[in-house]
């Protein structure tokens, strides 16, 4: 990585490794520019969530350098960090059945003085298609509604920030396709309006191909590829998942990929 590139990047990892249990993950080396949309793909257990935990600072690197906004990630205070990057988690449970408004407002809990809190909660809920849920208890919501509220919380967290980072951990996998689509659109437009970069862990190859400009492949705990989306080919994806895939091109020219029983993997 050249120094010039490193200087303008929002997040940069330089040969970072991390331990979880008995396993070592990494080395990870990549940089994310402001406003970029990056998807992380890989089979289950490959270390995608571990990478996200590393970026979320839940895990500490054992070697290498992780920088966020040009200063070492470990030097950031949790409170300052929360004003530049937000994380949309995989699970949505909240204890005690807090009211939805409060859950959304908790995105901004680290701000001591926050006069515009109420209006930001309102707008964030609107953006996440959750304004009809305001006033309800979180534990009475369905899975899809919980996902929307958590998304609104993340939006509220980075509402008045520019060029932040949004880490997304496969939050929409359990939702119906229509809702997945509208929520992904909400995330894209939220991030695009503010120049936030998105790094998302995804299982859906098509979602990654359609919505993201860059794909990072992870397998067996290490990074095995980092491609611009147009350069991703079927064999690369087949090698990543060890499965034979078939591709079709839509009338709009988008590639759609699905597992295929008829084709054999070409190694």
């Amino acid at each position: 990585m050249t120094d010039a590139l490193k200087n303008i990047s929002l997040l940069s990892l330089d040969r970072v490794t991390v331990n979880l249990g008995q396993r070592t993950f990494g080395p990870f080396s990549f940089a994310i520019q402001p406003g970029e949309r990056v998807a992380v793909l890989g089979p289950s257990g490959a270390g995608k969530s571990t990478l996200l935990k590393l970026l979320a600072r839940e895990l500490t690197p054992v070697s290498g350098h992780a920088d966020f906004c040009q200063s070492p990630l470990k030097d950031w205070s949790l409170s300052d960090l929360s004003r530049r990057r937000a994380i949309l988690p995989q699970s949505h449970e909240v204890a005690f059945g807090l009211p939805v408004d409060l859950v959304i407002g908790l995105g901004r809990v680290a701000r001591m003085h926050d006069p515009s809190l109420a209006s930001i909660v309102q707008q964030a809920a609107e953006q996440a298609c959750a304004s009809h849920l305001l006033g309800r208890r979180f534990d009475t919501l369905s899975g899809g509604e919980k996902a929307r509220v958590q998304m609104a919380r993340v939006f509220a967290q980075l509402w008045d920030v520019e060029q932040g980072l949004l880490l997304v951990d496969e939050p929409l996998a359990a939702l119906d396709p229509g809702l997945q689509f509208s929520l992904m659109e909400a995330i894209y437009s939220f991030a695009a309006n503010r120049g936030h970069a998105i790094l998302a862990i995804l299982h859906d190859i098509n979602q990654a191909l359609q919505g993201f400009e860059r794909l990072i492949f992870i397998k067996h705990g290490a990074m095995v590829g980092d491609y611009r989306t147009p350069h991703v080919t079927l064999p690369l994806l087949e090698a990543l998942y060890n499965v034979s895939l078939a591709a079709a091109v839509t009338e709009e020219g988008e590639m759609i990929v699905a597992p295929s029983l008829k084709r054999k993997v070409v190694a």
Partner: protein, 353 residues
Amino acid sequence: MNATAGAISLTSRFTTGLLNRPVWFLSLVLLLCFWVAAWAGAVPVTTNDWLLLWRHDEPLTSGAYVLWNLRLPRMFFAALVGAVLGLSGALTQGLFRNPLADPGLLGVTSGAACAAALTIVVLAGSGIDIPVAWRFWVLPVAAFAGAVGVCLLLDTVARWLTADSIAGLLLTGIALNALAAAIIGLCTYLATDEQLRSLTFWTLGSLAGGSWPLVATLSLLLVAAIWYVRRLVSAMNALALGEAAAAHVGINVRHLRRRVIILVALLCGFSVAWCGVIGFIGLVAPHIVRLVVGPDQRRLAPLAMLVGAIILLVADTTARSVAIPAEIPVGIFTALLGAPFFLVLLTSVRKGS
């Protein structure tokens, strides 16, 4: 709008306003409880006794003497201890993200009981001569030290064994509580009949030790705690999102946990040292508030204090006036009065929703 309708809407607005502001409603109830508690008891108190106290007239009648030196400090002490237990319960439940948690899980009660048992049985049995002036202080000081010590030990050991996991704190707490129970059991086994009796009474809890210096100390402690808790409650709300998500929104869970544990250790440690074990309030006061106004810690913490104060004041008043001249241990009444009330509230809320 005519005058009658205006008056009606004004009164109804007043009552609904009162119900919408549970702080005022509960404060009124607490005042009412104080009023009743001042008149109840073995020695009858007349209006004349109050006037004597008010005018500082000498000599005091027996009623005025009892009122000033025994009943009033005891009432204030009961309310303060109840408030302390309610607040500690709210904080503990928030920390463990579990409405069934109780300050005892942090080892306060078992630590104090363990130290008290060791003091009553081992220290008294060892034949060490304690100066008379100190005797009164030995048991409370030991119990306080035991409570705070076990709490801090628990936090340190749990951090060491299970990193920063709060589930780890819970499990380590269970182990440490079992260990303390074993020591208490051993002391019980070794105790003489007389020691056994004082140990049992200590365990049942009593507010008879309430005095003005204690009331003043506990008030100061509580005011400091309230000031401190005001800055913690929002972070406690964030903890409901889970430890990881709380850190993502900028809360240092490690610091928060340490602060809550120290606060609960000091508050509960003090109350348990002077009153023995008074169970149930720490569990049920926050629960009652949560059922009525919801789980937002910013409202939960102050209201749990008020509810705790009311429960303990009512329980103690009942305990000392139900079987005059005898006095029944207050711990029996907190459960006896609180449990049915709690059950009624539970069913009515479930039916309502």
